[in-house]
């Protein structure tokens, strides 16, 4: 290795950097020369100018932005999005140093794993008082439900992160343990991918260890957790969902590792087995790589309704049918209080001395430790003992005497809830400031994965940078920026990558990734809301047009139309029963205000809001254009509501525009969407809703005791959008049987009940079979019964006076459609409502 200190180093690169006194300098040795591991790095930079480096820094920023590397990147509208920041200047470490870290962290991971297995099992370390029992029993996250869960194959602590800092003499200290669902590995990977793209030669020259082998090892460790003897176990990545600020990383890791990304609602427990709800039915899951809080894992046993919760999953673990990794319970060890006892526990459980110390910690629940901590109060940091340490630490040294006394009183009232810790002045390394280099202080997050053979350390990691040596928050989003960590290889680096090579042709397939039924659920209700909005628009337009008419013509059909609106829930029922002349003025008033009010649960505005919400949730499954028209319809309608409440004319205009916008959405859906399961569920939602709407419309207008007049017949044709068709068949001869045939039995009319049923019949036939019955499924039987009702109608039954049989048939069809919706929901779309706790009995 060339160690020629006389190499001319580019001034711009390291010239401006000078480590402050009293901290470890990652770049320069105490005698002043550059540490040897940086030589190759510096040499690789000789031909790079500061401007060029800055240009690449900008490119890196752009690339991160394009890849959507942010916190809350997938959040709901209006939430802040913070971009991820990467300093392209890495930190370089030699293999000799890194191997020491690997050895120390392997030991620590084995120790933590042994502690977890003991605490949730025999609890021998409580009996031998190597750990004060009150530390466990007073721990708010010690879940009794996790006690005695079988220790499966592989390690309980399968994926672990340690937060390290370096003190002035170069000694490594563990500042925190991340054992629940460590964050940051995805960000480390993204940092590496971006660095490698922008500095390929530099990286090649230095000979940096690749990260991919670590992720292969992680895949392997997770695979080995499977309790089921299957050749390729199905692993899913369980996320806390789009509202969680680390969702980006979940999506990123799932894609990189090749796992299906799921939320709690995507999984179901049946007969103590965990299944992924897909449209091709329930697919068994062998391993759950959990990325959320374990305290929300099982709403049945732990309460709550966290998005990653899967009711019954703990019982499935007990039954030996699934593994959750990390094993529920591992999160306990994130509490800093444990650090005070690790040396003793290491001797007890591993028979070894702890290699790398934790930051010196005193648990105030121990009276002696408390005395000691109070004795050195001003030198220490005070923080919660039992929570994963975050930003809540305080520095007595910066407090007034009064504040100190208050803090002491607070500690004395609940001593077991606090720890005192020493601080470390973190090591320094150059950071890029845009033109030259300045000083940053480093927090190293290191990742390990393990199985029975021990733990492997990721050769690299996530480095967070702070401008000062003050204690640093542990959230991976804290700090001024991040860096890549380069470990120099001591042998040639072999190319390994999990990303498929871009130049090979793809393997042809007709279906995409597993189609989670959560998406089917959303699409079903999206279709439902879309059709409802469309139908109400037409109905409202028919009414408002008549009300707004300048002429004095009476509209004898208005009461029937109002009846239909009331039956749809768009207006109050009183408008339909009272004397029409009396309600008219009040009705106009009411329409002007209620039309845009999305508080009315079955009204138009609510259907549109619902449509927009669901379209947002299913954005990945819709074409960009389709999504935009959904959004556009809703946004325009909202705007119309805000700007024009003046008169019926404005209303009419808004409805006309909405009608056109919705029609273009429908057109794009019909023409642009692959006719796969996603489309079918959207269609079923539409067809069921439309069938029911037509049935309800007919019941409140034509199928009444009094024979319908011509005006009403015309209005029904108008709402059903069939006036042209009718005229082409019968000219102006308006007769109930002609209208009813068109609205009910004519299967060539897209606005007839028969058409909806025929379409549903086809969709239902393609539904995946539910195993267990040789007979027809409930869905098929319901559709057949409905089709039968309609097809068995005779021409006589459509003739005036309207027969009770016809009314009862239409009634029956509407009920069957309602049942079909319920059954579809029960069998395929159980997400429609979230799990609830049963009423408890007061004792």
């Amino acid at each position: 290795m060339p160690t020629d200190a006389l190499l001319v180093e580019p001034d711009w690169l390291l010239g401006g950097y000078k480590a402050p006194p009293g901290v470890y300098d990652e770049l320069r040795a105490p005698e002043g020369g550059i540490r040897p591991q940086w030589d190759l790095f510096r040499e690789a930079f000789r031909h790079l100018s500061a401007d060029e480096f800055q240009r690449r820094t900008k490119l890196a920023e752009e690339q991160l932005q394009e890849n959507g590397v942010t916190f809350n990147a997938f959040g709901e509208e209006g939430e802040s999005q913070r971009p991820w920041r990467l300093d392209l200047l890495p930190v370089v470490l030699p293999p000799s140093e890194w191997n020491e870290v690997a050895r120390a962290l392997d030991q620590r991971a084995r120790l933590l794993n042994a502690i977890i297995d003991d605490l949730y099992g025999e609890q021998t370390i409580l009996a031998t008082t190597k750990l004060p029992p009150s530390l466990l029993y007073g721990h708010p996250f010690y879940q009794r439900s996790f006690h005695g869960l079988p220790i499966g194959k592989g390690r309980s602590l399968c994926f672990y992160a340690a937060e390290l800092a370096r003190s002035p003499n170069g000694q490594w200290w563990v500042m925190a343990d991340r054992t629940e669902a460590p964050a940051g590995a995805g960000f480390a990977l993204e940092n590496r991918i971006v660095s490698a793209r922008l500095m390929p030669q530099v990286m090649h020259k230095v000979g940096v260890e690749r990260l991919a082998p670590f992720f292969l090892r992680l895949q392997d460790s997770l695979r080995r957790q499977s309790p089921n003897a299957v050749s390729s176990p199905r692993v899913v990545l369980l996320s806390m969902g789009p509202r969680n600020n680390l969702y980006f990383e979940d999506v990123y890791l799932a894609r990189y590792l090749g796992y299906t990304l799921v939320e709690g609602n995507d999984l179901a427990v049946r007969d103590d087995q965990v299944f992924l709800k897909t449209l091709s039915g329930l697919v068994p899951v062998d391993v759950i790589f959990s990325r959320g809080f374990e305290s929300g894992l099982d709403p049945l046993e732990l309460g709550g309704g966290a998005p990653q919760g899967v009711s019954g999953v703990l019982q499935a673990i007990r039954a030996g049918n699934v593994a959750v990794s990390n094993r529920p319970g591992c999160g306990l060890l994130e509490a800093p209080a444990f650090m005070a006892y690790l040396p003793g526990l290491c001797r007890e459980l591993l028979g070894d001395e702890l290699i790398t110390p934790s930051i010196a910690t005193w648990w105030c629940g121990d009276p002696q430790a408390l005395d000691y901590a109070f004795g050195r109060f001003e030198d220490l940091v005070i923080k919660p003992a039992l929570q994963a340490s975050g930003g809540t630490e305080v520095l007595p040294g910066e407090m007034t005497a009064v504040q100190q006394a208050e803090l002491k009183a607070q500690i004395l009232s609940r001593p077991h809830a606090y720890v005192a810790q020493e601080t470390v002045a973190r090591s320094a390394s150059p950071v890029w400031t845009g033109q030259s280099t300045g000083v940053g202080h480093l927090a190293f997050r290191c990742f390990l994965t393990g199985d029975d053979d021990g733990y492997s350390l990721m050769p690299g990691g996530l480095i967070r940078v702070a401008p000062t040596t003050a204690p640093m928050q542990l959230s991976i989003s804290a700090g001024a920026g991040s860096k890549d960590l380069w470990i120099c290889a001591d042998r040639p680096v072999e190319p390994v990558s999990l990303l498929s090579p871009e130049k090979e042709p793809v393997k042809l397939r007709r279906s995409g990734a597993l189609f989670p039924s959560r998406v089917a659920d959303d699409l079903y209700w999206l279709g439902n809301a879309l059709d409802r909005a469309e139908f109400l628009t037409r109905l409202l337009r028919a009414v408002v047009e008549r009300l707004a008419s300048e002429s004095d013509t009476a509209y004898p059909e208005l009461p029937q139309l109002l009846h239909a609106m009331a039956d749809q829930g768009q207006i109050e029922a009183s408008f339909a029963v009272e004397d029409f002349a009396k309600v008219l003025p009040r009705l106009e008033e009411n329409l002007l205000t209620s039309l845009f009010d999305d508080g009315e649960s079955r009204g138009l505005a609510r259907s549109i809001a619902e449509m927009q919400r669901l379209a947002r949730r299913t954005r990945d499954w819709l074409s960009a254009d389709t999504w935009q028209t959904f959004n556009h319809s809703a946004t325009r309608f909202k705007e119309a509501g805000e700007t024009s409440k003046a008169d019926l004319g404005d209303l009419l205009e808004a409805l006309a525009e909405l009608r056109v916008n919705l029609a273009s959405t429908v057109g794009l859906l019909a023409d642009g969407m692959i006719h796969g399961p996603a489309w079918r569920f959207l269609e079923m939602g539409r067809r069921i809703e439309r069938g029911r709407n037509i049935a309800r419309l007919l019941k409140s207008t034509l199928l009444t005791r009094q024979p319908a007049d011509k005006h009403t017949l015309r209005a029904v044709l108008e709402v059903l959008d069939c006036r042209m068709t009718y005229r082409s068949r019968y000219l102006d001869n308006l007769q109930p049987n002609g209208v009813l045939d068109l609205a009910i039995t004519d299967e060539t009319n897209p606005n007839s009940i028969g058409f909806q049923l025929a379409a549903l019949s086809e969709h239902v036939d393609t539904l995946p079979e539910i195993a267990g019955t040789p007979l027809r499924s409930e869905e098929k039987r319901l559709v057949m019964a409905a089709v039968h009702q309609v097809r068995m109608l005779t021409p006589d039954e459509l003739v005036q006076p309207i027969s009770p049989e016809l009314r009862s048939s239409v009634d029956k069809v509407e009920q069957l459609l309602k049942q079909l919706s319920d059954v579809l929901n029960r069998h395929y779309l159980v997400h429609a409502s979230s799990p609830r706790q049963i009423l408890p009995e007061n004792q």
Binding site: S134, G138, I838, N842
Partner: protein, 297 residues
Amino acid sequence: MRYRITHITRYTSGDPVSVGQNQAWLRPRVCDHQQVLRYRLKIDPPPSVQTERNDAFGNPLASFAFNEGYRQLTVTARGTVEVLPRPEIDPERTMDWETQAGFVAWPATADDREALQFRFESPRIPLSPALREFAEPSFPAGRPVLAGALDLTARIYKEFEYKPQSTTVNTAVSDVLKQRKGVCQDFAHLQIAALRSIGLAARYVSGYLRTTPPPGKPRLVGADATHAWLAVYCGPAGWVDLDPTNNVIPGTDHITLAWGRDYSDVPPLKGVFIGGGEMRLEVSVDVEPLEDAETGV
């Protein structure tokens, strides 16, 4: 004393429940003073899967789940239980409460360590200075632990009004302390909270109470209810049950189902379901004392 117990819980829902999972702490626990002669858990409709195990506190716990929809769920627990008299303990001869608290805090024996589980805050029982102030009059310096605990039981009985429907299952201990009324669950939680706030170990006991009909009246079948009380840890004297609702040390009238840190550890029935619409709950409990010769159905 021998009892035949019938505990029927019925959930009726407006819409079909699509999927449901449940846990039941309904099998009476076997302990020093209690034998379970027969027990049967009948679930209607029959669940698709059902298992029984002991929970982390050693209580028998049944888990069951449904894959098919139902509108009504009826869980019937029938058992015949023999409750034996417990040894009498002289409250004045128990350890002074400060020493007892110290033994619990730094346990040297397995029993003390077990007791330590029950001295911290738990999901339904947060601790507060107000609770400590409430406990203190009963615990002057040096008072034997059980004497103090009994005094506290008597104070709750006297100072608080037993009033059905005055609280819900979710009422906080701090509210009970303020409003001075509640039901047995509230009084049990309150006394546990007060005892823990001065460093003692106390646990929640779920069970049944034999009710005696008014003189001359027949016993009403199914009119009983589940009951709740507590136990305080008295070191060498073991755990002693206390019933603040009735101001007694439970004897052969109290049938024990299960114990835990508070109600949330051992509700008779809990569960999660999807669908169902509006849900109605009906509970009927019958505690029938048996003649010595009878063994029950």
